[in-house]
């Protein structure tokens, strides 16, 4: 919240949190202070289901390069799956 750079996106899927698997409803994407990554800022993604409380969270804290590569790779894999008629 120091940077105020945050966006929420609906995401259907399942994630494994501290209490096991749960159905995720949303991803919160921010460029802000991470909790663990040894940087002042990181690209943070929290996959959450707010109806289960703050503990229903799967967190990643990515470097800039890592975040860009992840986004490109997701697009690439989905495109290839579409090309092969798997989606």
């Amino acid at each position: 919240m120091c940077t105020m750079l945050v966006k929420k996106v609906p995401v259907e899927g399942f994630g494994r949190g501290t209490d096991g698997w749960f159905d995720m409803k949303q991803a919160n994407v921010s460029w802000d202070h991470p909790f663990h990554a040894p940087e002042e800022h990181a690209l943070n993604i929290d996959f959450v289901n707010e109806s289960y409380g703050p503990g229903a969270r799967v967190a990643v804290e990515l470097s800039v390069d890592g975040a860009r590569q992840l986004a490109e790779t997701i697009q690439s894999v989905l495109s290839e799956a579409e090309d092969r008629g798997l989606i």
């Binding site: 919240m1 120091c2 940077t3 105020m4 945050v6 929420k8 919160n28 921010s30 802000d32 202070h33 909790f35 040894p38 940087e39 002042e40 800022h41 943070n44 929290d46 959450v48 707010e50 409380g53 703050p54 503990g55 969270r57 967190a59």
Partner: protein, 252 residues
């Protein structure tokens, strides 16, 4: 000054108070044992939440002779690990300024009601807590000293104002009625050296009592010993400046 034949004791515990809109807010309170009177300090936690560092810092202030209280500004987001709760707050762009101001004002009044507080209450905050400290001391009477450690967002361009943070704290500078100690890192991205200079100019323009220190070789969060941002030399000097400043401003 502490001497080795001196009695020391401390009480530290979770307490509750009524914050904004009368809602219950938990707070961590630590105080030296004895009748006092001791000066009071409100500690405003940082963006990563009401975490272990802040409970330790609360006890640190008590160790140095203050009745210290640190309210959980994220109370309305539910309970869980400090990181999980703070992540939920981060996703919502922070807590509303009005709510934070009311919670911190309630914390100040909590201290003032205690029979072992000497009638002087200061406020300390780091990161977003530094911003909150400046904000509440500008909007609410009753704070006798402010310690702003690298509070980002005191200076805010209009395009960064939000419903939660509708006014930049610097715009309240004329109403600030307590002295300010500011500690900043020259390598910080929020606040930048330029942001700090703008804040400094506003304090000078309004004739406020303040001292700012800009540390070379330090960035954001240089007190946090559990993070790579920790800078031992700058942190030691910063704490010494805090004790000197508060000793001067909060003693009777």
């Amino acid at each position: 000054m502490y001497t080795t034949d001196q009695y020391e004791g401390m009480l530290a515990e979770t307490v509750a108070l009524r914050g904004a809109d009368g809602n219950r807010v938990l707070a961590y309170c630590a105080r030296p044992l004895g009748p006092g009177p001791f000066p009071g300090m409100v500690l405003v936690h940082h963006m990563p939440g009401w975490d272990e560092w802040y409970r330790e810092a609360t006890r640190r202030f008590a160790h140095h002779g203050y009745v210290a209280i640190s309210p959980n500004l994220y109370e309305r987001f539910g309970h869980g690990s400090p990181e999980d709760v703070a992540a939920a707050v981060r996703a919502d762009g922070g807590v509303p300024d009005d709510q934070a101001v009311a919670d911190l004002e309630a914390s100040m009044h909590y201290l003032r009601a205690l029979p072992y507080v000497n009638g002087k209450v200061g406020i300390f905050g780091t990161c977003s807590g530094g911003r909150h400290a400046v904000l509440v001391a500008s909007r609410v009477a009753g704070f006798d000293a402010v310690v702003d450690c690298w509070g980002g967002g005191v200076v805010m361009p209009t395009d960064q104002l939000t419903p939660q943070r509708p006014v930049a704290p610097i715009d309240y500078t004329a109403d600030l009625n307590s002295p300010v100690l500011g500690l900043f890192g020259a390598e910080d991205h929020s606040p930048t050296v330029d942001d700090v200079a703008v804040h400094e100019a506003a304090l000078e323009e309004h004739g406020k009592d303040f001292e700012f220190h800009m540390y070379e070789g330090a960035g954001h969060g240089f007190f946090y010993y559990h993070r790579p941002s920790y800078r031992q030399e700058q942190a030691v000097d910063g704490w010494e400046k805090i004790w000197a400043f508060l000793g001067q401003k909060l003693s009777n």
